[in-house]
């Protein structure tokens, strides 16, 4: 039974979504809020996992996250359209398009330069938004609660309905990402990390692989940003600030490159640590977070995803082996 679930991705996605929904029905509203936030941010982390598979880390993913949130908020406020699905798809596509354009330039960079160039771009957006009074400046803008296919839930069902919406999107995107990771282009990403020249000998364009993955990562960050905008109802330029991006990278390293579930798990773990530390140690939550970061890099160099993968390796060949 368990083997049947783990070997069939659609079934696994369905089981995960059903389990999350069942748990959600028992949770109070404020936990649902945090859980929705964690799932939405998990999508951003999933995008960064795609980059990590190529050995690339972006310290500016906050740019797409912020842009997605602003697309969602500004379009919603300007047109009066409150449909959640429409707005978040728009956020995702908008960021994916920008990512495809910027990816062409960024694909020439590696390592720290790639990370820093992304950081520069996100800080440009941050600086611009901070001074742009027409979109709220440093105060940001408020967003009306979303509707779902024409239905506007009353206040008491708002949290659970949004949670269900995020769960469905996260499960769908997670499944699609998993299928993509095992496709030819998805596996080529692993080869970019290992040996670029060998990949080009095989007739694949390294640049194309990087641009494609980067655009998808940007789209996922935009989607996550749009969802966060809808759940929190308020967006601020700090979404593009480098510490936001740093937190995403932190969650990504915690997750490791090997698993979809780990990406969401790492995000949930991070948000939980932040919540608990903020609750019980309001003056030292950054300290706890920093210590948590150092310990997880020290003891889990390949992320929590590697814990599960290590056990599985004895049974199935690793994806990395397939790519060679």
């Amino acid at each position: 039974m368990i083997h049947a679930v783990t070997s069939s991705p659609p079934l696994a996605a369905l089981v995960c979504a059903a389990a999350l929904m069942a748990v959600g029905l028992m949770l109070p509203d404020w936990v649902l809020f945090t859980a929705s936030l964690a799932l939405a941010k998990g999508l951003v982390v999933l995008g960064l996992v795609l980059l990590l598979r190529m050995g690339a880390v972006s310290f500016g993913q906050g740019m797409y996250y912020c842009l997605g949130a602003y697309i969602c908020g500004l379009v919603g406020n300007a047109t009066g359209v409150q449909d959640a699905l429409f707005l978040v798809i728009l956020s995702g596509l908008g960021c994916c398009a920008l990512g495809a354009v910027l990816g062409v330039f960024l694909s020439a960079y590696r390592g720290v330069f790639f990370a820093m160039f992304n950081l520069a771009l996100s800080m440009i957006l941050y600086g611009a938004l901070l001074k742009a009074t027409s979109v709220g400046g440093s105060d940001g803008i408020g967003i009306a609660p979303p509707s779902y296919f024409g239905l506007s839930p009353s206040d008491e069902y708002r949290s659970i309905l949004f949670y269900a919406f995020v769960v469905v999107i996260a499960a769908g995107v997670g499944l699609a990402t998993r299928i993509y990771m095992r496709s030819e282009l998805g596996l080529a990403a692993l080869a970019v990390r290992d040996n670029e020249i060998r990949l080009e000998y095989l007739g694949l364009s390294v640049r194309r692989v990087i641009v494609f993955n980067y655009a998808i990562a940007a789209g996922l960050a935009g989607l996550g940003g749009g969802l966060v905008a809808l759940v929190s109802g308020h967006i601020i330029p700090e979404f593009a600030y480098w510490t936001t991006s740093g937190e995403f990278v932190f969650m990504t390293v915690l997750s490791g490159p090997s698993s979809i579930v780990a990406a969401f798990g790492a995000t949930a773990l991070f948000e939980t640590v932040r919540l608990v530390a903020g609750q019980y140690l309001p003056n030292a939550w950054q300290l706890m977070l920093g210590a948590f970061l150092l310990l997880s890099i020290l003891f889990l160099p390949n992320g929590i995803g590697a814990l599960a993968a290590g056990r599985r390796r004895t049974r199935a060949p690793d994806a990395k082996e397939d790519a060679r």
Binding site: V112, N283, L293, L294
Partner: protein
Amino acid sequence: MDVFLTILVDGTIYGAWLFLIAIGLTLVFGVMKILNVAHGALYAIGAYAAATLVGGNVIEEVAGFWALPLMLLGSILVAVILGPFLEKFVLRLFYGRDEVVLLLVTFGVSLILEDVIRMIWGVFSQYVAAPYSLFGNVEMGPLYYVGYDFFVVALAVLVGVATSLFLSRTIMGKIVLAVIHDAEISRAMGVNVSRVYLYTFTFGVFLAAVAGAFTSPMLAVTPSIGVNAIILSFAVVVIGGMGSIGGAAVGAALVGLSRATAINFWPEAELFVIYAVMAAVLLFRPQGLFGEPAQRRI
């Protein structure tokens, strides 16, 4: 004409401030290949050390020229206490990992240090007012500038020249250059590379603390100055080429002047301009103005 003089002077002063912060960052990266995010927090600790010793916030305020050696003493204390501790008990555990992972490690250290700052010094602004009037005012055409600002420019030049001379003229400096060039070969030639790392990192902490201590009279010392400083000096170091001291000087001047220009003509674009310059440099010279091109991964 006056506008250009203003831009030139403002830009130089701001650039000097940036260079003081960035030189330690670029040196540590050059030798250890660590882009130290915690450099900003160490800068803030240097400023707080000055606020404690001379600002009159904790003990009696120190007026007159004695304030300057006391600030230097504060910086040395910060470096001697924190430098070896961080290098030996934190960074050393992570050597050999990817550059980006080390960047994340120092991000974690910076988060921790920021809370430590809040625990020790509280969240309210502290001021180091007295030294700011040490050098009187300077009249330039129709404008008056505070003399201390030019002292900071002179200090930046002094620190830059002294560090360059140390690297190029002393045996210890040559050893550091050898480690920058190739740590493995240096080790094979009998260089104690881990000691070079220890000294370099401690010296980097010292430079951060010096920058914090001597620029603290120019601003209100709050826990957040570190974050602002590090993100700007990142831009400086990337523009100049990571690991290059001359590059950091040019980068600081470029950022200082473009920011001063923006403030005079288009104040909304203050932050925007700095990162636009950084993005433009990366676009045409990815390794920075004075950096060496990286080899392709094979």
